[in-house]
């Protein structure tokens, strides 16, 4: 075990490149060239025959992991509660979906599965079937040694009933196979550029979270014990290695101080012009590694103490 961060990339970063300018092996290459050790995929995006798994594809998957020296980290799953126009998913269907994804993730060697449940309101309250679905697959998760980690994603902050609900669930069940995935988009403290067709009225209204919900990084302390995985969401890093939206100079020291030594899995979510994501992800890795190195130089013995505590 190391007290350093582990570095990874989610192939979500290469959205729109994947299938137009990049195939699976290209993606592995770009991830490995960042110096990452971990790769994150989305089941319904990167498994060509999802939910089937073809033997030839499985062979290729393990061949690529080996060739590019990467380990599978997190597998993204969706529980499409709003499955038909006039009908929601039942708990049984949701649990079946989660079972499918846990089994796929396990066969591919993943340690985490992120289920994205449909929501019922603007607060992003997950559909009430979430709890029943997860409870029904906890034994399977334990058997496969996979941790199920719903995502805390803007506009949902850390101090919110949704997060409380997840923590209550952990405490009630005592499970070690459920936790939180923190998406660093919650720390965004400067606005995103307007999207195509977005108006100032929209930005002031339902889209105001795109200005950043500015969760104080100190609040990480309240959930870090439940957080085995972090998606390093970002939108634009310029030629001065300056991030326009996410305050990494606060986020990184906070995570280091808390002794976090799990993955930071890059999630680029900016301009989708082809090939831009490749360079953006590289900039993020340069920036975060630099901040980590600076913190370690300023705090030579801290991370080890924290871990031993």
């Amino acid at each position: 075990m190391t007290s350093h961060f582990q570095y990874g990339v989610s192939l979500y970063s290469y959205t729109d490149d994947f299938g137009t300018v990049m195939d699976l092996e290209d993606a592995f290459y770009h991830v490995s060239e960042t110096g990452s050790t971990g790769i994150e995929i989305l089941g319904e995006t990167h498994l060509p025959a999802y939910p089937q798994l073809e033997t030839a594809w499985l062979d290729r998957w393990f061949g690529l992991l080996d060739k590019y020296r990467l380990e599978p980290t997190n597998f993204a799953s969706w529980i499409d509660t709003d499955i038909q126009r006039r009908r929601d998913m039942t708990v049984e269907e949701g649990a079946r979906q989660l079972t499918t994804d846990l089994e796929l993730a396990s066969r591919l060697g993943f340690k985490f599965v992120r289920p994205k449940f449909g929501v019922i309101d603007e607060e992003l309250t997950p559909h009430p079937i979430w709890e029943g679905c997860v409870e029904r697959v906890l034994d399977l998760a334990a058997k496969l040694d996979i941790i199920i980690i719903p995502e805390i994603h803007s506009p949902t902050p850390i101090r919110h009933p949704v997060v409380e609900g997840y923590i209550d669930f952990i405490q009630r069940t005592g499970t070690k196979h459920f936790g939180l995935l923190i998406d660093t988009g919650i720390f965004q403290d400067r606005p995103l550029p307007f999207w195509q067709h977005e108006t100032p009225e929209m930005r002031d209204g339902a889209m105001s979270f795109l200005n950043g919900i500015k969760v104080p990084v100190e609040q990480l302390a309240e959930v870090i014990e439940y957080t085995p995985f972090i998606q390093a969401k970002f939108h634009h890093i310029d030629e001065e290695l300056h991030d326009h939206n996410i305050p990494w100079e606060k986020v990184i020291p906070a995570l280091k101080s808390l002794g976090y030594s799990g993955y930071l899995s890059s999630e680029y979510e900016g301009k989708r012009d082809p090939w831009v994501a490749i360079e953006q992800v590289r900039r993020q890795h340069a920036l975060i590694r630099k901040l980590e190195r600076e913190w370690e130089q300023a705090n030579p013995s801290k991370p080890k103490e924290q871990r031993d505590a």
């Binding site: 300018v21 989305l42 995006t45 990167h46 993204a76 449940f117």
Partner: protein, 133 residues
């Protein structure tokens, strides 16, 4: 590999015998970052040279299967994968004229994790593409 724009130029073609065209076909790349069950696709509206072909009257071909608009909602298993194109089959007796056309689309996608007022969400695209024969 597909063209980057959701609207694909290759595959845009008239349907039916040379002298008796019945409509046209338009290929569209999955514009979402994940493949979607067809029941989450609330159809695709096509506009060619400002003439509108509504989502409800188009057909949708995914691999070997062709769906009517109503059949999309019932297909909760088959997915429209990322990196693949769906074919929208549009009824138009006589087909389209040979030459360059301005083609616009609106793809309606229902994302269950979006707040209810943003479901379905539209994806738009617009470009000039060509009917060869």
């Amino acid at each position: 590999m597909l063209e980057h724009t959701p609207i694909q130029s290759s595959g845009f073609s008239n349907i039916g015998p040379d002298e008796d065209r019945t409509g046209f076909c338009l290929r569209i790349r999955q514009p979402n970052y994940r493949g979607l069950r067809m029941s989450l696709v609330e159809g695709i509206k096509v506009v060619v040279d400002e003439i509108e072909y509504p989502a409800a009257t188009n057909l949708y071909r995914l691999g070997e299967r062709t769906y009517t608009f109503d059949e999309l909602d019932a297909e909760t298993q088959a997915r429209w994968p990322v990196g693949t194109a769906i074919e929208v089959l549009v009824d138009k007796p006589g087909g389209l004229d040979v030459g360059v056309h301005l083609v616009e689309i609106e793809v309606l996608l229902r994302h269950p994790y979006f707040p209810p007022q943003f479901r379905p969400a539209p994806v738009h695209d617009r470009r000039h593409i060509t009917i060869i024969r």
